[in-house]
Symmetry: C2
Subunit: 386 residues, 2 copies
């Protein structure tokens, strides 16, 4: 822990099967609730009905805001802000996965914002100066960590940009309901994309920094738990122990804890988000498609950490040169990605060679990792990912 930092994460988490029953208690502070959800899967699996029953039994006024897309857009954001303003809502209740939670947080800082939220928060990266509408979450899909952080990724189709803003702790959800059984009905492709997303969040924070840090050990712990439990969940998606451990590990993978006191990278996410802006592909899949070419590229600049990753996370025997050991770690990662069945390249996500320059244009260059990428390096990694 060589850097100074402030840690503050006040989100209250209700965890476990049946945890939705705590929603009634949380609703006591609010009267008009904007009920935010995605494409309608919550209506099929009954979660919408369960939430609505609690809202109605608690005597709340409910304003519907469905149809949040996997990569929430500026157009949708503006729509949500209009709903919140029109009905003067005092709680934004997100029922869904990371996109629904992200969208709720973006709405929360925009309702009372007198400027264009996209320009203020995503182009100029300013902090909210206006009143923030409280957010609560009922998580139905695991991976993004959005349920216990202040991040919100928004896509601007006109500008072909997908940008995340990590706000301060005031934007974190006031409460989140985490019921692992709510994730049982998530299709396998979404489940594994979420698991890889969570794993990559840890990688982004692990492959960076110089000192031997508490966060390194915690990161390895979360990675090992994700690996063990993903295998159990692949075998039996209704394995409560596996799904609950995955849910909990994913929350702690991106709630600011393991980033404290160290640099972090996030270049895989920058590459993935640029791909997302061009293809609308599932977020976790865009990360898996570019990960291995990226890590192989930066391995020489962070050799000792990649060696540690191989030994501590994957149990590689520490024999051979540092580079051989480190590469065995990446091979183990590749094998696990194969087990999961996540996207192995950009071609299967619909990326073609003529898009590469545009995606490279849309890729933000981060400076917290082992190597600050040049434009030719970005193009080269994207081409290797095809």
């Amino acid at each position: 822990m060589l850097g100074n930092f402030t840690y503050h994460n006040p989100t209250k988490l209700y965890f476990g099967e049946g945890a939705l029953q705590n929603l009634a208690e949380e609703l006591k502070n609010y009267q008009t609730v904007q009920l935010i959800y995605g494409g309608g899967s919550v209506k099929k699996n009954g979660i919408y009905d369960s939430v609505m029953k609690i809202l109605k039994d608690s005597g709340k006024t409910v304003v519907e805001d469905g149809g949040v897309m996997p990569n929430p857009t500026t157009d949708k954001l503006n729509e949500g802000v209009e709903i919140a303003r029109k009905h003067n809502v005092d709680l934004l209740l997100a029922v869904g996965g990371g996109s629904v939670c992200d969208y709720a947080k973006a709405v929360s800082v925009s309702v009372f914002c007198e400027e264009d939220p996209w320009e203020k928060y995503y182009i100029r990266f300013e902090e909210p100066t206006c009143k923030i509408v409280p957010v609560g979450c009922v998580l139905t899909m695991v991976g993004t960590g959005s349920e216990m952080n202040a991040g919100a990724v928004i896509t601007n189709h006109a500008q072909k940009l997908k940008i995340g803003h990590v706000f301060g702790s005031k934007v974190m959800p006031k409460f989140t309901v985490l019921d692992p059984t709510f994730t049982y009905t998530v299709p396998k492709r979404q489940m594994v994309a979420g698991i890889y997303d969570a794993f990559n969040h840890i990688c982004e924070q692990y492959f960076s920094g110089t000192d031997d840090n508490v966060s390194d050990y915690l990161s390895e712990a979360l990675m090992k738990s994700l690996i063990v439990n993903s295998r159990a969940a692949l075998k039996d998606p209704q394995n409560y122990q596996a799904r609950s451990n995955i849910m909990w590990a994913a929350t702690w993978a991106l709630n600011t804890l393991i980033a404290q006191g160290k640099d972090t990278d996030w270049e895989v996410h920058m590459l993935g988000q640029a791909v997302g802006a061009y293809t609308d592909a599932t977020h976790g899949m865009t990360l898996s498609a570019v990960s291995l070419p990226y890590y192989k590229h930066i391995l020489p600049y962070g050799l000792q950490k990649f060696k540690r990753f191989a030994i501590e996370v994957w149990g590689v025997t520490p024999a051979g040169t540092d580079e051989e050991i480190a590469l065995k770690g990446l091979k183990a990662l590749e094998d696990w990605m194969g087990e999961l069945g996540v996207a192995k390249n950009l071609t299967e996500l619909g990326v073609t060679e003529d898009m590469i320059e545009g995606i490279a244009d849309a890729t933000l260059v981060m400076d917290g990792g082992y190597k600050v990428l040049s434009r030719p390096e970005i193009v080269s990694i994207l081409k290797e990912s095809l």
Copy 2:
């Protein structure tokens, strides 16, 4: 994660060298501050002066409440409550180690309590129903985790009882300043006692439960970090990296995270606290003195976890019977305790054979670990610890 739980830890942490400068910002919400500290070491090392300067520069009214002893007593608690009532303080600012923080929290729930706090909170284990005075901490000694939890241990000399009550999240400090350089002047004996205390907090939460849990991996991570960094700190107490990692690991060892979704034990603490009530010995030393006899006693009931502890935490080669591997883990723990120089037995803490029955009387029996101890087992473990 098989159990249901609520996780909520709103304490704001300011971490790093110079982090005290954030105190001024936090003070904005308060006017009359009860400045709580211990035996006076904060006056010698200059931390008292630094805090007082910020309080005065911020125009606060300061009410002094020094002399908090290592095991805060009911008499002292009543004294602190009187001070708070008389001056109508609106912030309790603890500057010191775990005892000072614990005491501040005990005062915080007692100022507006209309009953006897000892009877209500420590004998009947009731929750506060009155207004709670906010607590802030400036930590100067590492180990107890009191800076980010709602626990408060109080000793009643008349009744020869030392009891801890873990309150709800409303009793957690509003903010804590964690400056690793503030721990440089702590005597070596206190430093190692604190390190062992933190390590044992993890053991209490690790040696329990039945499923393969995220918390197990996180616990191993924190233990490994404590071991590595304790060795570096023994070599050079002013190694910032080591002291900061120890400080951060100790905070996360007991801020409720690694206890979530599983049973926990706490029997070593119950034995140690009973010893503390009889001898006034340093808390961490009472734990180290009874740990090995206790763990050897319960090993057969939690063999697989002790085996995992040996392999994952101490790097024991997994060869031989499960019991042989598990015992090698305890041997490694014993060796590390020798490196630290913590108390190896109760005799060196002033315990004599004639005290054993009384200490056994004062030992609470917990039911979350691998074995619920009978009275003869408690006596036997205490005798082996002499």
